[in-house]
């Protein structure tokens, strides 16, 4: 009733589709990434998170060890609270510090973890308090202009 060749061709068609799915999932997306690996949560408080976004990488020594999962504002201290999921295999000392850095000149912002020297490790759910905020260009320029103005003011006074 149905030709054998039709069945074979349809089988080939579906197989081609599966191959495409496999290619897209493995080669063109991050199925092999650690979205399925077990992680533990850490959080850090920053005075200014700049342009950090959810899903931004968390890196230590340049190696990606986790992802930013949540960004909220603490209503009491008015600090930005950044929640992160860190890969289970990586434990950081208790006095580690977190910075918000930029990859390249115009790249995305990420959280950089700098390990400290403490014997004890950060337990899951702990908060990193030693932080360095994102570099905000406007503040930096403002400071530069202020310094220049102060310098020229000093020079004028000395004359």
């Amino acid at each position: 009733m149905i030709k054998r060749s039709t069945e074979t061709l349809v089988g080939l068609f579906v197989l081609l589709g599966l191959a495409a799915l496999l290619f897209l999932a493995l080669k063109a997306a991050n199925l092999t990434g650690f979205s399925t690996e077990s992680t533990y949560a850490l959080s850090a408080r920053f005075d200014n998170i700049g342009g950090l976004k959810v899903r931004a990488p968390v890196r230590s020594a340049g190696v990606t060890v986790g992802r930013v999962t949540a960004i909220t504002l603490d209503p009491k201290t008015f600090q930005g609270v950044v929640g992160m999921d860190i890969r289970q295999g990586f434990r950081f000392p208790k006095d580690s510090s977190a910075k918000i850095l930029t990859s390249g000149l115009l790249g995305d912002q990420y959280v950089g973890l700098e390990p400290g020297g403490d014997e004890a490790d950060l337990v899951p759910g702990a908060t990193i308090t030693q932080t360095q905020s994102a570099l905000v260009l406007e503040n930096l320029i403002g400071q530069l202009i202020f310094n220049k103005a102060a310098e020229s003011g000093d020079a004028g006074a000395r004359k």
């Binding site: 061709l9 081609l16 589709g17 495409a20 999932a25 997306a29 991050n30 990434g33």
Partner: protein, 267 residues
């Protein structure tokens, strides 16, 4: 004054009739859609019929889908390179092409081509069956044409569309790879690694597949409905075929906006 009043009443009646006609057509097509869904499980038991339809709808569309995907990949890579080179960000070329294909172009362009390639043939086939009174003959033999003719085609379209969209996206990315890495000289490692870093399997690929499934339902449903409801004349079948492409394309584009807003509006 009375003359003016009659004109107003007529205009009002025309508006009311037009609205009612539209609503009736909408209700009619909704019932047709429910019928298709109702007959689909039974059609699964007539698996050879569905298989033949997948062969006709899917396999035969393969060439045009693959060729279009390759062309879109080529052009996208060239154009994106032109824009990105100004900012020294050519290494993110792969990412841009990949996201555009997986999220939007893959499902949408496949659906538009599908409406033109497979939808028209479905409409014309059903319309001619109706014009040749084959459907009536089936009913006389106590065979419901919706179960025997329409449901296998419906299932065939729904199965074929996501497969075609996946093939379209893959071929497009390979096309972009050929242009970006082999012709322009973007670093191959960067091309793939930035994709793997930033493209999420569930969010981007998964939503793309969901989109193409929805489009498969829309395109096949519109094609079958237009064929089934066509005037059983040569001119009627021709008009139905045209309507099938136009309505399916517009529905896909409109639905794509809604789906994109639902899926990707949050960062």
């Amino acid at each position: 004054m009375p003359c003016h009043g009659v004109g107003m009443t007529q205009a009002l009646a025309w508006l009311g009739r037009a609205t009612l006609d539209r609503l009736r057509a909408l209700g009619h097509s909704a019932f047709f859609f429910v019928d298709l869904l109702r007959f689909s499980p039974a059609a699964l038991r007539r698996w050879p019929l569905v298989l033949t339809q997948i062969h006709l709808i899917g396999n035969h569309s393969l060439l045009i889908i693959a060729a279009s995907g390759l062309a879109v990949g080529f052009v996208l890579a060239l154009q994106m390179y032109y824009a990105l080179v100004t900012y020294g960000a050519t290494e993110s070329l792969g990412l841009v092409v990949n996201l555009a294909l997986l999220r939007e172009l893959g499902p949408v362009v496949t659906a538009l081509l599908f409406a033109g390639r497979a939808g028209t043939s479905l409409t014309a086939e059903i319309g001619l069956m109706k014009a040749g009174e084959q459907l009536v003959a089936m009913e006389l033999m106590a065979v419901d044409p919706r179960a025997r003719v329409l449901a296998p085609r419906f299932l065939g379209g729904i199965v074929s569309m996501p497969v075609l969209a996946l093939i379209f996206s893959s071929v497009g990315i390979l096309g972009a790879y050929v242009v970006a890495v082999l012709l322009i000289g973007v670093d191959a490692g960067n091309f793939w690694s930035i994709m793997q870093d930033r493209v999420d399997v569930w969010r981007d690929l998964g939503n793309g597949i969901v989109k193409s499934m929805v489009f498969g339902v829309i395109c096949t449903f519109v094609a079958l409905y237009q064929g089934y409801e066509s005037q059983p004349t040569p001119a009627g079948v021709a008009a139905a075929t045209t309507r099938s492409v136009v309505i399916a394309s517009l529905a896909v584009l409109g639905m794509d906006f809604i789906l994109t807003a639902l899926m990707f509006s949050t960062p």
